[in-house]
């Protein structure tokens, strides 16, 4: 998992497009983000399917959680 400080900016109207852009840029990362157990949060709310992205949306790809 990338360290929590790693942030990148993309222009994408929705999550599916964002995934394509990431995969084009870094195929291994694209594959990892599509992996089992990876959840997605848009503006700090988990989304379960494709989602539209507003201007300046924050998208977080969350690996399987450990618990504390």
């Amino acid at each position: 998992m990338a360290s929590p400080g790693v942030m990148r900016e993309f222009e994408a109207p929705d999550l599916a497009t964002l995934r394509c852009l990431i995969a084009n840029d870094d195929p291994a990362l694209g594959e990892a983000l599509a992996g089992k157990g990876v959840q997605v949060a848009v503006d700090q709310a988990i989304v379960r399917a494709d989602a539209p992205l507003a201007a300046r949306s924050e998208v977080a790809f969350l690996p399987p959680m450990s618990g504390g």
Binding site: A41, Q44, A60, L62, P63, M65, G67, G68
Partner: protein, 147 residues
Amino acid sequence: MTVRLQTEAFDPGALLTVFSAGRSATGGIVSFTGIARADLGDGTVLELEAYPGFTEAEIGKIADEAVGRFALHDVFVIHRIGRITPGEAIVFVATAAAHRREAFEAADFLMDYLKSRAPFWKKQHGPGGAEWIEPMDRDRSDVARWD
């Protein structure tokens, strides 16, 4: 209700003293302290990551659920993030209720959630390097008890 994440060490006893003060309707206060173990030997270091804002909010939702489900007067959750060495307190949970049964069950409920479903990512550093940690099977079955 308090939900707090911090990198600094905390004193569970001091927190419990403050939490317990000034209550008259509360009959039972239960607290739990989770402590880092040296699973990989003395040099073990735990590293806990959170998603700032999101992790606190998600824990807050479960704390709200605990208040409703167990009729709590108050709840306190504090969790370390960052690097933690063996023997240090990682998490402190305290619950206050009119009677002891609800205070005990709420603390159990919150800890089961924190150990298996809370948005933390835990890495263990040992002599052989670092590895990401997943909840134990027992954590998963423990939290399923409440569903």
